[in-house]
């Protein structure tokens, strides 16, 4: 099981790749929508890449609950 410290940098680089947000901006407390200005299609792209990277499944109803970066890190940590 990957630790939060291991997940965050990789997740941040996926967010940077997909949405162009500087990886350094992708910190735990940030909201994907309100702080990082990521739209729903980009969230789907991030989820697909995260699934491949971390070997998890993120169903649509779970994806909808991932409001902050920390939420995503926790989900990945608990399901990988």
């Amino acid at each position: 099981m990957a630790t939060n410290e291991e997940i965050l940098p990789d997740l941040a680089s996926i967010v940077e790749e997909v949405a162009g947000v500087d990886a350094a901006e992708v910190t735990a407390e940030k909201s994907f929508v309100d702080d990082l200005d990521i739209d729903s299609l980009s969230m789907v792209e991030i989820a697909v890449q995260a699934e491949d990277k971390f070997g998890v499944k993120i169903p649509d109803d779970e994806l909808a609950k991932l409001t902050t970066v920390q939420d995503a890190v926790n989900y990945i940590s608990n399901h990988s």
Binding site: A19, G20, V44, E45, V48, E51
Partner: protein, 420 residues
Amino acid sequence: MSSTGQGVVVTGMGATTPLGGDVATTWDGLLAGRGAASKIEEDWVDTFELPVKIASQLAVEPTEVIKRVEARRLDRSEQTAIIAAREAWQHADLGDYPNAEDGSPKVDALRLAVIVGTGIGGALTLLGQDDILEQQGLRKVAVLTIPMLMPNGPAAHVGLEFGAAAGVHAPVSACASGAEAIAWGWRMLMANEVDVVVAGGTEACIHPITLAGFSQARTMALRNDEPERASRPFDTGRNGFVLGEGAGIVVLEREEFAQARGATVHGRLAGIGTSADAYHITAPDPEGTGQSRAIAAALRTAGLEPSDVGHVNCHATATSVGDVAETVAVKKSIGDHPVLTAPKGSLGHLLGAAGAVEAISTILSVREGLIPPTANLEELDPDVTLDVVAGEARKQSLDAAISDSFGFGGHNVCLAITPA
């Protein structure tokens, strides 16, 4: 040629073409009669043993101009449309817009429409993602596949860019699409539905399947050893067109609106004419009947007499039948006096973008009193009995000019341009 404030004026122009990344460099290339085609440096040319190994490729890669993240969300035909649209908007000095840092635009979003046509649409995305599906499986298919391949994608993205709320349209009429978008804009403005229309065309489909398909139809130039000399409209040595890519966008305004905001006017879209050949799916009517009806309609809607027209910016793609048929149509509808040029000698054939880029060339000819030469015209086809500019650009004051665009399917669109 009214100046009652009731017409349609051109206040902005933008382009990215095989000759240059903007209008100024494209116009310089046209005036110099420079052929833009080059060898295609891709393995697939040999893999598929394509008879055509050349194309008119963009002078400036879109990814050099737009942000990486933006680029990965846009098909190449959408990237080119956005680049040309931004240049046109800035040229028109319409102010900031929703994607800009601050301020508000100088046109009400509810009075702003966008019309961007394409002949083929997001073919590179469609074909590329199909390869990914077959080779790598479903999970690797891009989330944005559909908005990147849909032919209204370029119009939709340009509409979103400027926040155009009065309408976003995407005419698809093969190689007449770009001109049809401009014609559609004229109709919306003349009907006083909107104040400003951002209109034009885009295309980016240089791919083995398009080259193979056009080659199989025996429509393509095969002078692979001399790419810059391959596109030869009106020349006895012509043997087809060179596939190109690019975009052209104009900002059109109701004259009254442009006057009120003190906009710089570069020319007038005095009238438009459209028709259909009702003859054959790909071949032009050799008698030019449908084409001459479109030209005549453009003159009629512009209130022009044939004697007013000093210049025709031809569609002439450098096919044996098409070029001559167009001159027949010009003679029928206007007469023997217009001076012709064929920009595809320089640009190659930009398909859905051609009509818009060539409309810009026509607007500049009228504004500058300068007609670019037809690149690679060395020996005029004896069946062409009109004056075609070759060699170097010709100075000539113009009261009116016509820009012709025709497309597979028998679509004919002609635009009548007059001075500001």
